[in-house]
Symmetry: C2
Subunit: 352 residues, 2 copies
């Protein structure tokens, strides 16, 4: 296996949706909408035979290539990727951990700027993803829905009038839609109101996860809020419900930040600047540590305390300093300790 | 009481002996020799009456003014000092904590660059002090001894053929000499050999104390090593004995540093740079913290890891960021929390 040139083209570059150009970017990193779809007359992925999987890829790929939505993008044969490239795609949120695991026939189509992407033969035949910067769930849904319509005109989806879109796991049946918002809540963590707020979020039927989705730990005050329910509601209702809650959380976070500035400005600024001092001077940094330090500095940028650095830089650092990204940038297989050294070097170069 | 103009002339300036120009300056901050002397026919200070104390000051002052050694210096009436100025002089090692405490008639003569100074009516009638940069005990002794000779030709010292110089406390009787070396041993602390080395030091009859002498805590890996015995040995033997031990400690410290560089270069460099990052970015810094951070950065300068900063700067920071110094520099009475903020500001200005 040789390095995939398509993947090489992403190395060292941040995804477009991390650019911090969207609304509420000081608090929301990105909005994502994912649609799960399956082709009728084919078994679900976990029961499909090799021949089926190959045929599904062929059909989905040619349908996707016929649309204008993914123009300028590229196709990747996931089965033929090196482990480091698989991990690289996981770090970029382009494939899921599960998909990286086994050697099944799977495909990935990545659109320009990684705004739109299509996983083929993940849990479902099609997992269509759209990202947008900041809080732009409607925009992400619009992008996803447009591509979905274009594909639907070329593919026969497994769809039931009673249940809606049929999916491999019943938790996705119906709309097959999962909207999620990656949100940075250091203020609520510092004021210790975070548990109360997150309890409220889960009580209205939403899920809270860490930076890397299901099963990932919450780190550095980054939270992923998404809908649990995909059935019995329209897509528009799901999106607007999630959007409403996201706006409430933003409001709480803003209040928490105001309170902190009013009551403990010095301590907060000190914390922010110390994090910046360590980030720009350390000679070795673990993944966990960088997320926590970026979190503090990101708060500093949001509060206007720190002006020499941008939210975009910090968003990108979160992704570009992950293990596989570092190994791709430095073009070397590295032990964790070596990576920590290179990570610190990378951050210093980026921020100085 | 108005601010003493003599003291104002020292504000914001480091003592000459902190300049890091002497031998072994990367490890030894300074060498100090102190001689305790008393006038015959006067009671010791703790039993002297006001009239006696005044007469002692008059005699010592005129004797000192007649010598060339203290030319360009100045006299301070300690009793008439503001508390902040007393503390300022303690921080500069020019008077002792005890001397600052009560309202007795006491005087202080400070020579140029604070290399030589004379406390009058401290525990003894005369406490003569000489400082030198780095490990220069002989030089400090020579300076002290020359001034002592000049004073002795004009004053009648309390001296016994059998016991030597008589002093208020018998632990100083004989030579009245206390030599001390302020030494920075981060290497031995990191290799955990420090206790063994310090045990060896005390076993040969020397004392180990913190940065501010007797009763002060050891902080930031700075240790003060001094002779305990003043009786039954010649001045030269005391000085050369202390010098020999100091050189041994330096040797141990150098070995420890070499070992650290060989076995844990990355961890040590990381520690050093993080300390630098915090020192130059924090918005509030306590006294204790600054000593510990300066200690790490000073090691970095000694190891050649850190080149943008000098040992002199760090030596001076240790003194110039003490509470009274800060209040003098910013010309304001400050609560501890305010001082911590100003301290951080002062360090940033100094190091950027």
């Amino acid at each position: 296996m040789i390095p995939n040139p398509r993947i090489e083209s992403l190395v060292g570059i941040g995804s477009k949706w991390l650019e911090a150009t969207g609304p509420f970017s000081e608090i929301v990193l990105s909005s994502r909408v994912r649609l799960a779809r399956n082709l009728s007359n084919f078994p679900f992925v976990h029961r499909a035979r090799v021949k089926d999987l190959k045929e599904i890829i062929t059909r989905c790929k040619s349908a996707a290539e016929a649309t204008s939505h993914l123009e300028g993008g590229f196709y990747i044969d996931v089965k033929r990727l090196l482990p480091v490239d698989l991990q690289f795609l996981v770090e970029r949120h382009l494939i899921s951990l599960e998909m990286a695991g086994d050697g099944k026939s799977r495909g990935l189509i990545v659109g320009q700027g990684e705004v739109l992407s299509l996983m083929i033969n993940e849990e479902d035949h099609i997992r269509l993803q759209a990202f947008a910067s900041g809080l732009q769930l409607e925009r992400a849904y619009e992008l996803a829905s447009d591509l979905d319509d274009a594909l639907e005109s070329r593919l026969e989806y497994a769809f039931s009038e009673k249940w809606g879109f049929l999916t491999a796991c019943p938790t996705n049946t119906g709309t097959g839609l999962r909207g999620s918002v990656l949100i940075h809540l250091p203020g609520l963590v510092l004021t210790k109101d975070i548990d109360k707020v997150l309890r409220g979020v889960t009580q209205v039927g939403l899920a809270v996860r860490g930076f890397y989705g299901e099963g990932s730990e919450v780190e550095g005050n980054f939270f992923q809020v998404s809908n649990q329910t995909t059935l019995g509601k329209s897509e528009e209702d799901i999106i607007s419900g999630l959007n409403k809650v996201a706006k409430q959380i933003i409001e709480y976070e803003r209040n928490a930040r105001e309170m902190l500035v009013a009551s403990a400005r010095l301590e907060v600024e000190d914390k922010i600047w110390r994090a910046f001092g360590i980030l720009t001077n350390a000679r070795t940094l673990t993944s966990d540590e960088i997320i926590n330090l970026c979190s503090a500095v990101r708060l500093g940028v949001g509060l206007g305390v720190m002006r020499s650095i941008s939210t975009k830089d910090l968003n990108e650092l979160l992704v570009l300093t992950q293990p596989a990204h570092l190994q791709k940038v430095y073009d070397a297989e590295m032990e964790p300790q070596e990576r920590d050294v290179k990570r610190a070097e990378y951050v210093r170069n980026k921020l100085s």
